[in-house]
Each structure stands twice: as C-alpha cells, then as structure tokens.
C-alpha cells in the first residue's frame, strides 16, 4: 500500500484547493493532444483537431479536460485507497474506451507541466516529487484492471 506523509498530504491538498479546474483541465488535455498527437485517436468525435489552434479552441476538448481533471478528486479524497477507488474507471478505460494505458502517463506529464507553469517557483523540487508520486499512483490504479 502507498504511504503518504503528513507533508505529502498537505502538499497535494494545497495544489488542488488552489486549482482552477476550468483553466488547468482544458490546458492539460490540449497540451497532451498537441505534444503527443497520436492521443487524438481517442477523440475522433470531437470535430476539428487539425492543428494546435483548433485543438486549443475546441469546446469539446475543454469540457473533457475539466471532466478528466475532476476525476482526480476521487484520489484526493481516498489517498489511502486509490487502487480500489479507480477499479471501476480502470475497467471502463480498458473495456469500453480501449485506451492504451501508456497514455495515462502522457497526460499526467502534461498536467505536471501545466501545474508547473501555474505555480512557477512555488513548484519546488519537493512539490514536484510529491505531485508526480500522486499522479503515478493514480496512473497505476487506472491500469490495474487491464488484462
């Protein structure tokens, strides 16, 4: 089981309590679709994804980005039981959405970069380490039900 120190819990909680989901969510997904264009394969119903400009102004991308970011709330509320918390979502991503679990890491890297941009120097190496640990646990849980 994953152990979280008091300091780590507080760092994670602070990041999320100061988060503008409506800004960060879309930015993270846009960045993922631009930087790793093969991830667009899962969004063929989203319309115009032809270039960075189109992606960054696409309302479906923005809405989905917000939804995905809120998906992290579950982990935040269940830090000591992330694996079980995401079991159902893992099955969904595997059996219904057919998402290659390698993509979770790509999106999580983009989210890290967006949060880094927002926090600037407050995104210290220690904060980065904690945030990346949090995302790695979520990513692992999301991939657990694939077989």
């Amino acid at each position: 089981m994953v152990e979280w120190s008091e300091n780590e819990r507080s760092i994670i909680s602070n990041i999320f309590s100061n988060l503008d989901y409506n800004d960060v969510g879309p930015k993270a997904l846009v960045r993922c679709l631009v930087v790793y264009p093969w991830t667009q394969r899962y969004f063929s119903s989203f319309g115009n994804l032809y270039n960075a400009e189109a992606i960054s102004t696409n309302p479906k991308v923005a809405a989905h980005g917000i939804k995905v970011l809120h998906g992290l709330d579950r982990a935040l509320k269940n830090l000591d039981n992330i694996k079980a918390t995401y079991a159902e979502l893992s099955v969904l991503h595997s059996e219904k959405l057919h998402v290659d679990p390698d993509n979770f890491k790509l999106l999580s890297d983009c989210l890290t970069i967006v949060i880094a941009g927002k926090l600037g120097s407050a995104f210290t190496p220690e904060v980065q380490a904690t945030f990346q640990k949090f995302l790695a646990v979520v990513v692992s849980a999301l991939g657990k039900q694939y077989h």
């Binding site: 846009v30 960045r31 631009v34 930087v35 960075a52 992606i55 960054s56 890297d109 890290t112 970069i113 967006v114 880094a116 941009g117 927002k118 926090l119 600037g120 120097s121 995104f123 190496p125 220690e126 980065q128 380490a129 990346q132």
Partner: protein, 143 residues
C-alpha cells in the same frame, strides 16, 4: 519524429529567450532530477553534496545548459556535434540512456515554471522533439 524546419525555427526562437538564464535553468533541472528521481543520484556518488543549491549540482547544470545551447546552434548536425559527448557517456560514464528522458522531462518542467506564457503547447512539442533528438545523438555510441 525528426525535426522539421518549423520545429528548428521554434527551438531557436525560444532558446534565444532562454540563453541569458540557461545556467540557472540547467542547474534547476539537474536539482529537480536528483530530488524527484532519486535513482539518478547513483551516478553522482562522487559529489559530497547533492542538494539543489550545492556547487557541483549548479556547475553540472551549467554544463548541461551550455551543451544544449551549443546543440541548438548546431541543430542540423546533432550526431556530429555530440560525438565526443556520446563517446564519453557510452564508454566512460555509462549512464543508462533511459535517464536522458528523465533529465529532459525536468528541463521541460523548469522551462514551464520559468516561461509560463512562452512555453506554449507548440513550443513544448518542438522542444520535446529537440531534446529527444539530442538524447538520441548522445546514445549514438552506446552499441
């Protein structure tokens, strides 16, 4: 995933903004790497102090930054310009090439914290491709 003419243009334009602060950026990236990916510390057991503000960490970051600046200027022949460094990493340092990706990630994070408005998704993808090309050139002599 090779560098297009557009990619090279974006990399050069963005790196021109970075150049005055390259030293600090390199130092920050190395510091982050050692903190966030503690396994990378195994390559620096000869340093007494591995803390973010230590002299060897900052100096090494400066070296990395200078190499990248040089690579930007020789972007059309990365394999040639990084040949000696590749031999060093392959035969002497023997750094597992997977770690190049780790350092690249931390460089991207520092670029994002330092240039929140300029490090757009388009710049991000061009720089990521460039750093991947640099890593590839660095691993050229490994086997």
């Amino acid at each position: 995933m090779s560098l297009s003419a557009k990619d090279k243009e974006i990399v050069k334009a963005f790196w021109a903004k970075v150049s005055g602060r390259a030293d600090n950026i390199g130092g920050d990236a190395v510091a982050r790497m050692l903190t966030v990916y503690p396994q990378t510390k195994t390559y620096f057991s000869h340093w007494k102090d591995l803390s973010p503000s230590s002299a060897p960490v900052r100096k090494h970051g400066g070296m990395v930054a200078a190499t990248i600046t040089d690579a930007v200027n020789k972007i059309d022949d990365l394999a040639g310009s990084l040949l000696t460094l590749s031999e060093l990493h392959a035969f002497t340092l023997r750094v597992d090439p997977a770690n190049f990706k780790v350092l690249s990630h931390n460089l991207l994070v520092v670029l994002s914290t330092t240039f929140p408005n300029d490090f757009t998704p388009e710049v991000h993808v061009a720089i990521d491709k460039f750093l991947t090309a640099v890593a590839l050139a660095l691993s050229e002599k490994y086997r």
